[in-house]
C-alpha cells in the first residue's frame, strides 16, 4: 500500500484545512486553538504546493514561513499569558498592552492579513490550485478575524479602522489586477472587512 504522503491529494488537504478552521472557531481554550491553527497552516500550504510549478513552490515556502512565524508568535503569547497567571480558556483578554497580549494580537493579525501584515495573501492565493484557491478564500482570514474579535473585542475602534483600510486597499488593488485569481485574493480584504465589522 502506498504511503499516506504519496497518495495525499489536494482534496484531503482541503478537508484537513476546513477541519482546522472549524476547530479554531469552536476551540474553547488556547491549546486547542493553537493545535487547529497549525493544522490549518500546514494543510493550506499543501494546497499551494499542489499546483506543482516553480512559482507555487516558492510562494508556498514563503507562505509556510510566514504562517509558522505567526503561529510562533501566537504560541509565545499564549505561554506568556499562562505563565503570568492568565486563564487557559479563550476569553476576552484584559484591556492592557502586555507583552503576551501583543504577541497574541500579532499572531492573529498576521493570519487575518491586517495591513501591514497582509503581503502573504496576495502572494500565495493566486498561486494555489483551483481547489486550493476556493478553499483558501474561505477559511484562514475569516477564522482569524473571528478569533481577533472574540479575544480582543476592546480593540473595537482599531478593528473598524482596520476594516476601512482593508476595504480601500482590497478594492483599489482588485481594480488594478488583471488575473481573476489575483482579483479574488484582493477581494478577501474586502470580505475580511465585512466579517470584522459584523463581528
Amino acid at each position: 500500500m502506498p504511503s499516506i504522503l504519496k497518495i495525499w491529494d489536494s482534496k484531503a488537504s482541503a478537508l484537513a484545512y476546513a477541519g482546522g478552521a472549524l476547530g479554531v472557531t469552536f476551540a474553547g481554550d488556547f491549546f486547542t486553538l493553537f493545535f487547529f491553527w497549525e493544522i490549518m497552516a500546514a494543510a493550506s500550504t499543501y494546497l499551494i504546493w499542489a499546483r506543482r510549478t516553480k512559482e507555487s513552490d516558492k510562494a508556498g515556502m514563503r507562505y509556510v514561513l510566514v504562517h509558522f512565524f505567526g503561529g510562533g508568535l501566537l504560541l509565545s503569547g499564549i505561554l506568556m499569558h499562562l505563565s503570568s497567571g492568565g486563564s487557559f480558556l479563550i476569553e476576552n483578554l484584559e484591556e492592557t498592552y502586555t507583552l503576551s497580549n501583543i504577541f497574541i494580537l500579532l499572531g492573529v493579525a498576521l493570519n487575518s492579513a491586517i495591513p501591514p501584515l497582509h503581503a502573504w495573501l496576495a502572494d500565495a492565493y493566486p498561486r494555489a490550485t483551483i481547489t486550493g484557491a476556493v478553499f483558501m478564500s474561505a477559511f484562514t482570514t475569516k477564522s482569524a478575524v473571528y478569533v481577533f474579535n472574540s479575544s480582543v473585542p476592546w480593540l473595537g475602534d482599531f478593528g473598524m479602522c482596520r476594516s476601512g483600510i482593508m476595504a480601500i486597499y482590497g478594492t483599489v488593488y482588485a481594480v488594478l489586477a488583471n488575473d481573476i485569481r489575483e482579483i479574488l485574493a484582493y477581494q478577501h480584504y474586502e470580505s475580511g472587512r465585512v466579517y470584522g465589522q459584523q463581528l
Binding site: D9, G19, L22, G23, T25, A27, G28, A138, I180
Partner: protein
C-alpha cells in the same frame, strides 16, 4: 454532569433537554459505539469527541486518499455534510472536553456566535465560481 471513561460531555442545560436535543451527534456516536463493540452505556460519552465537526473533517482527510479514486469525489462531499449536520444539531451551550495532561481541553464550545458565524459564512461565500471562469 461529569462522566467516567476519559471523555466528558457536559451541557449547561438539564439532562432531559440534552436528551431531547442530542440530534445527529447521539446517533453517530451510537453507531461508532456499535462499530467498536462498546456495549456499555457510556459509549456516547466516551466517543463524543469523535463527533466534533473539526475532528470528523480531519479524520476524513486521512481516510479520503485510501478510498478508490472513482468514488473519491463523492466521498469528499460526505464528510463535510456529516460535519454540517452535526453543526446544525448542536444546541447553544454544548461543550466537549478532552483531558490532556493536567488540562481539560475544550474541543468544542458553542455559545451561539460560532454557529451564526459559520451559517452566515456558508451563505455569504458565493464567489467561488469566479475562480473557475478562466477554466
Amino acid at each position: 454532569m461529569t462522566h467516567t471513561g476519559g471523555i466528558a460531555f457536559r451541557h449547561f442545560m438539564h439532562y432531559g433537554e440534552v436528551y431531547r436535543h442530542r440530534g445527529y451527534r447521539y446517533y453517530i456516536s451510537k453507531w461508532l459505539g456499535k462499530l467498536f463493540i462498546l456495549s456499555n452505556e457510556d459509549y456516547y460519552d466516551r466517543l463524543s469527541y469523535l463527533t466534533v465537526p473539526a475532528i470528523i473533517l480531519i479524520l476524513g482527510a486521512f481516510v479520503l486518499p485510501l478510498i478508490p479514486e472513482r468514488i473519491r469525489s463523492s466521498a469528499f462531499i460526505v464528510f463535510p455534510l456529516i460535519a454540517l449536520g452535526i453543526l446544525w444539531s448542536l444546541p447553544d451551550g454544548s461543550l466537549i472536553q478532552l483531558p490532556f495532561a493536567s488540562y481539560e481541553l475544550h474541543l468544542l464550545t458553542v455559545d451561539g456566535t460560532e454557529s451564526h458565524f459559520w451559517n452566515h459564512f456558508c451563505a455569504h461565500h458565493h464567489h467561488w465560481w469566479r475562480v473557475c471562469l478562466p477554466y
